[in-house]
Amino acid sequence: MSTDYQYVPEPALVKGDHSFGSITDLIAKTPLSPTPKLWYLAFGLANILLITLLGAIGYLIWDGIGIWGLNNPAGWGWAIINFVWWVGIGHAGTLISAILFLFRQGWRTAINRFAEAMTIFAVMCAGIFPAIHVGRIWVIYWVFPIPNQMAAWPNFSSPLLWDVFAVSTYFTVSLLFWYVGLIPDFATLRDKTKSKVAKITYGIASLGWTGSFRNWWNYEKAYMILAGLATPLVLSVHTIVSFDFAVSVIPGWHSTIFPPYFVAGAIYSGFAMVLTLMLIARKIYGLEDIMNIDIMEKMNLVMMITGNLVAFAYLMEGFIAWYSGYIYEQGIFWLYVVGPYAWGFWILMFCNVVTPQFLWFKKIRRNVAITFVISIIVNIGMWFERFMISVASLSTDFMPSAWDYYSPTFWDIITYIGTFGLFFTFFLLFLRFMPMVAIAEVKGVMPQADPHNYDEETNEFDIEKTKPVVVQQEQTV
């Protein structure tokens, strides 16, 4: 049987017959045109939820942690679940922008800006919880190593302290990375806007960007360095979040599989959240050409892989419980399966183990509606994963006499819902005033960015010239 090897050209990352100019127009259109009514509606709803969140936090600080459903065995409940959940969601952005950047994955450009913004807002939502869940928020600064007259110093062996550093570093680097990427695009908006206020604002934000060679040189280097810095953080932040659990003695927590398992789960949920948001945004803002089905399929593949990694971790937990012969680990696994929170476990199993299996099918991977549904199911599943870890493990640990059942209160639920208000308030502001796709970067992956294909004489694109080029030319925008 003769084998015919053929060079398969990768499909174009940006669909449609776009020129650089049309891409700029497509993306810059949103921040530059008047605010649509629908946006006000969405922003109003988000604001109501945000105010609800602030109210819930205010009442929490006023009255005490007791307004939540926590009890004696379960010292951590929805607050910590939400924290881990939001941090996990916050994983996708930096993974997409940093790691995929270093791996030269051009398709990332369609979603990186969007995902990074999501990351930052998700980490903001996450960061609220460890702060407000403490009993005495007014002295929370004691977790920072601030020299003080009490000669009191934080306890560096506490994973909670590691968390403080991990999350704050992650947030800072993500923010910087995002902002650096935004500089050329802010300059584009500055140049295109007719509004004086916008011009000044975008002008300040673009830090005097001129588009010079030197600007580009510094930009590319800075972006590369930040990508390098952000890459280990992608792995470290959720590793350290997992240490909150793994370093303890509690069965169901005390497990060496937690760091990789948490990172995989975080990527899984992060991609799901990006998909959820992207599939809505591409429709509303008409970005189907950039955030196209090919991109969606690639993201589905990432979800499939990480989803199966997570499923494997669940299996391993069961296996290790049996294999270790450790009765408490066996006890907690059995309680997951048939115990008081078994309903949560089976929701989790359906969402996180069964659902990703659909993604083996290309048709499903390329189906927008099903992908949208799956992305939501995955995020529900990932929430329940954290629920099982936090609550079920704590409620039913070593001493059966101390077991108690945890159930959330109105305030737990409203605080969680309120964080969506915070998230969407910022996210809608982002959609409204910032370029939601990295204009400069997406142009870099368009065929036009490979100028050797370009017949300068006829001023036409010639597909016949798709051959390796000898001379690399500088990109222009």
Partner: protein
């Protein structure tokens, strides 16, 4: 009262003080104004008033010292150092028995009750009621003033009324009083009976000793008190007798002490008694049994007769039973018990529950005598104050008299019959027929509201009194503080009625004691005050023989024996609120009931099988809502939540009384269900053929333990005595799991002493040589599960009451909890008790995870909690494998201490040596660090700084001190001679969750049972 220095009054006694006008005014005033003064910390005036009063009253030298009210101590009173608590002996009365106590006073405030080591009924320990009395006294809901027809009046007005009203000595007077052993009280009682020609006196207790006294009357022809010395018996058989429970036996502390003394097994060569329990409800006493048989309470009668019949073949005196047989005659228990009792003649005790019929008490007494146990382990005591009448019949007679309009005046000394009287007597209505009703009580309660005169009663910590212990040791009750609400004691009250004038309790008591001490009164009185008891003297032991009348009566009651058909209802006093008198005590409401771990409610207990038949589901983890059933007895229906009690007899339901009160106090109101309506003169304690139905309603129960089995985890290790002898090391990890402890092999291979830990602070943390190293061990063999450790800890460590809602959310604050596990068949399990305080791990998982280092290790090896540093992440509690940390989810202390209109009052009950914790911080057992540090400082002073290691026994934790079973040992581990080191070297010693390598400083001595192999 004004703060000015004006006509300084000098007074010797409160009697003198009472007669001055200023005092009258003070009496008239309500407390809050005083409270404001008390609140002013720098007010010398208010401080001295409280101080002066307590010294004048409490110290034996103080009675003579004139206390100037205005000027501060120009001469420091002897022994008074500010900040150092003072201790005064007194006695705590409960029904007609007092227990010797020592009261800790801080700046004139009694703050903690401890047992009096010299007193035989206490031996230094207390019951949960004894501990809770402090809070009873500082109860802001107690009645604060005299009421005449509901309107505010005064004691002097009442005295005026009395001198007029009681001048007619021919009127029909009925005195209804609580049981009281006080010689002074009984002297006044005798005086009353002399003074009023048409008076009757009824001692009314809803749960009293009447049947037992009546029983000995049948058996011996004399009303004698049964005094079981459980330490002197090799075999104990209890028929529904919950003698370890303070709610079921007024001598429970001594009983526990004696019972556990005989069961303390410190090596495999030691012997222990064998205890058989035959009962319906699974009681704490039953949970300590070696062999337990569950039968309906109604069948106990048949069982006892069957046993008597079997015994009658071998011993004389039980001829009435010979040849008798019933369904239990072939029961294996009857033959086994017969054999066992005959083998241990003279060394056994048979005892029957207080509430059972006199006939059963008579039979059991006869068996005891027939076996020669009397004069050995069982004594029959002549109690001088025991009435020569059947008080239950007399009380029913009073209701009839009232209905027939034959009573002019009813004087109620304490007691709350409007709430507790048998429902069929309709006492509330009957009482309205009396022309005058006078009621002395702690609360403005159900009965007070029907009375013409309500007098607010002084608590025993506020007033002079006296009393006899169960076995007859006489004590003086000395007040620790001036009455908070100017109440009067029962003896002052009776004195007003009899003499028409106010006399101070101090004088009245002294009048009585003049008879005891005819010469050298002062020094003898002072000695009795100081010691808390007047010598060794006890009630005289009667020499008894089975009366000839007994055997003829016996044949009657055998033939009348009720076969107990259908569903049975057992009505018992509640193990925490008793007959309702403690219903307003937050500590007791929050104290988990020993067997069910329920707080704040009463329920209907039933076996799993009965519950299944009724279709009632079991509560459990995540199922706090339980089903409500309706119980109908003789046409009266009551709805009450149902609770599955493994080990309960089938076809039997137990309910407890004392709940569902109205208009009494903030704590008591609307808590639980009032079950008294089901109680009638015929069915005082038991009813048969009751109908029970599911209502379909549900009700939330706050239980502190939702899961009742150990899930195969070897947390509470136990063995039979035989197993212990075969394998003295049965409590090790290797024996418990039949596997080597993980990590040990690795450690040995690598030449390390202990298993590895990734965090190994022990290597870095060298304990200083000059520091003691504290450790605790808890002997599960003697622990009865009574829970007094919990309430003693609550009292000592200012632990707030959080309420039912918070408990039901799993937020109880108790620093030491009492775990109760069921083991074995769900219908007939064994119950095991395990107190769990902080383990003070050397490698504490909590310390490792706190981000701000708020919980750290001290030089003396304690795991400490720094409240001020805590930010409240709760990570420490999560990481505690023993789950002993407690979080202040709300500002519980503030709510507890500043709630209501008189916040200062409950605050006075707080221990000034222990910080109260605010919202958002973690707390837990401190090994009573305040006591430890005081002992260290004292030791350092005593030795001129040479050492700060207190002598063994110099520090007792609150739980240890209160424990009547002496199950808790605490001391310095660096002292090889200390008791705690000895117990830790015992082969039964084991560490809880040892495999986690937390290296706890608290360890346990495994439990040993001594079951009869024939009944296995």
């Amino acid at each position: 009262m004004s703060e000015e220095v004006k006509n300084p009054n000098y007074w010797k006694s409160l009697g003198e003080l009472a007669r001055n006008e200023e005092y009258e005014k003070y009496v008239e005033r309500e407390f809050p104004e005083n409270a404001t003064e008390l609140n002013d910390k720098v007010s010398r005036r208010s401080f001295l008033r409280v101080m002066g009063a307590s010294i004048a009253l409490a110290g034996f030298a103080a009675c003579r010292r004139p206390v100037q009210k205005i000027v501060p101590f120009s001469k420091q009173p002897e022994d008074l150092v500010e900040g150092v608590p003072q201790y005064y002996a007194s006695a705590s009365p409960f029904q007609d028995a007092v227990t010797g106590i020592v009261v800790e006073n801080n700046s004139g405030r009694p703050t903690k009750i401890e047992g009096n080591e010299m007193h035989p009924a206490s031996s230094g320990n207390t019951s949960i009621f004894g501990q809770a009395e402090i809070l009873n006294m500082y109860d802001p809901d107690r009645s604060r003033y005299v009421r005449k027809n509901g309107e505010r009046s005064s004691v002097s007005a009442f005295a005026k009324f009395c001198s007029d009203h009681f001048s007619n000595t021919d009127q029909n007077i009925a005195f209804v009083s609580e049981a009281n052993s006080s010689p002074t009280y009984n002297r006044l009682k005798d005086q009353a009976m002399d003074q009023f020609s048409n008076a009757q006196w009824i001692t009314y207790e809803p749960f009293g000793e009447d049947n037992a006294l009546e029983g000995t009357n049948i058996a011996f022809g004399e009303r004698l008190r049964t005094y079981n010395k459980y330490d002197e018996a090799d075999v104990i058989v209890s028929f529904d007798d919950d003698f370890l429970n303070p709610a079921a036996d007024k001598n429970s502390v001594e009983n526990t002490k004696r019972f556990t003394d005989r069961r303390r097994v410190m090596s495999e060569d030691d012997d222990m008694s064998r205890f058989y329990a035959v009962e319906s409800t699974f009681s704490i006493t039953g949970s300590n049994a070696d062999n337990r048989l569950r039968i309906k309470s109604g069948e106990i009668e048949l069982f006892i007769y069957a046993l008597a019949a079997e015994l009658s073949n071998s011993v004389s005196g039980l001829s009435a039973f010979s040849g008798y047989s019933n369904k239990f005659s072939d029961h294996e228990w009857v033959s086994v018990l017969t054999e066992e009792l005959l083998d241990n003649r003279g060394d056994s005790i048979l005892t029957v529950g207080r509430d059972h019929k006199p006939e059963l008490h008579a039979t059991v007494a006869a068996i005891n005598v027939a076996l020669g146990n009397d004069g050995q382990a069982v004594d029959y005591l002549e109690v001088p104050h025991a009435d020569n009448q059947n008080n239950r019949e007399a009380f029913a007679g009073l209701a009839e008299d009232l209905n027939n309009d034959n009573v002019d005046t009813v004087v109620l000394v304490g007691a709350n019959p409007a709430f507790t009287a048998p429902a069929d007597l309709n006492f509330e209505e009957a009482l309205s027929n009396a022309r005058q009703v006078i009621h002395l009580s702690n609360y403005y309660d159900e009965t007070s509201k029907l009375a013409n005169w309500h007098l607010n009663r002084a608590h025993f910590l506020e007033a002079w009194g006296d009393g006899y212990s169960y076995s007859g040791t006489r004590s003086i009750i000395q007040p620790q503080i001036e009455p908070l609400y100017s109440g009067i004691s029962e003896i002052e009250f009776l004195n007003i009625i009899l003499n028409g004038e106010q006399t101070k309790g101090y004088d009245i008591v002294q009048d009585t004691w003049q008879d005891y001490y005819t010469n050298d009164f002062t020094s003898q009185w002072n000695k009795a005050l100081h010691d808390g008891l007047a010598g060794e003297e006890t009630f005289s032991v009667a020499s008894v023989s089975i009366s000839s009348a007994f055997n003829s009566q016996a044949s009657d009651f055998i033939s009348n024996a009720d076969p107990s058909e259908g569903m049975e209802l057992v009505i018992r006093p509640d193990s925490t609120v008793f007959d309702g008198r403690f219903a307003n005590n937050g500590w007791l409401q929050e104290q988990p009931k020993p067997m069910t771990k329920i707080t704040w409610d009463n329920v209907a207990l039933m076996s799993k099988k009965t519950a299944d038949e009724l279709g009632v589901k079991e509560a459990g983890l995540g199922k706090a809502e339980v089903e409500v059933i309706s119980i109908t007895v003789d046409g009266t229906t009551l709805e009450i939540p149902a609770w599955v009690q493994p080990g309960h007899a089938d076809d039997s339901i137990t309910i407890t009384v004392g709940y569902g009160r109205e208009g009494v106090g903030r704590v008591a109101n609307k808590t639980g269900v009032d079950t008294y309506p089901l109680r009638t003169t015929d069915n005082m304690h038991f009813a048969s053929n009751v109908s029970v139905e599911k209502t379909g309603k549900t009700y939330e129960i706050a239980s502190t333990q939702d899961h009742n089995t150990m899930e195969g985890r070897s947390l509470l290790r136990h063995a039979t005595l035989q197993e212990y002898r075969e394998n003295p090391n049965f409590s090790t990890y290797e024996s418990a799991y039949d596997a080597e402890m993980p990590g040990v092999a690795y450690a040995e291979e690598h030449g390390e002493d202990d298993p590895l830990s990734i965090f190994n602070p022990i290597d870095e943390q060298e304990y200083p040589e000059d520091e003691p190293q504290w450790g605790m061990s808890i002997d599960l063999n003697t622990c009865t599960g009574c829970g007094v450790c919990t309430i003693a800890c609550t009292a000592e460590n200012n632990i707030p009451v959080v309420g039912k809602r918070e408990v039901s959310r799993g937020r109880e604050m108790h620093w030491i909890r009492n775990d109760r596990y069921f083991d074995g068949d769900v219908n007939d399990p064994k119950a095991l008790h395990q107190p769990v305080p902080c383990m003070h791990c050397e490698l504490a998982p909590c310390e490792q995870v706190c981000p701000v280092a708020a919980t750290t290790h001290s030089d003396d090896g304690m795991n400490q909690m720094t409240y001020n540093r805590c930010i409240g992440t709760r990570y420490c509690a999560n990481n505690c494998p023993y789950k002993v940390r407690r979080f202040n989810f709300f500002n519980y202390t503030k709510e507890f201490l500043t709630g209501g209109d008189d916040p200062e009052i409950v605050q006075m009950a707080m221990n000034p040596e222990v910080t109260v914790r605010f919202r958002g911080v973690m707390e837990k057992c401190t090994y009573c660090v305040q006591r430890v540090n005081r002992a260290k400082i004292n030791r350092s002073i005593d030795t001129n700084g040479e050492t700060k290691k207190p002598k063994d026994g110099a520090v007792e934790t609150a739980c240890q001190q209160a424990c009547p079973a002496d199950a808790i040992y605490f001391g310095d581990l660096t002292d090889p001679e200390s008791e705690v080191v000895k117990t830790k070297k015992n082969n039964r010693n084991y560490l809880l969750l040892e495999e986690l390598n937390t290296r706890p400083r608290t360890s346990y001595l495994a439990k040993v049972r001594n079951p009869n192999p024939k009944l296995a």
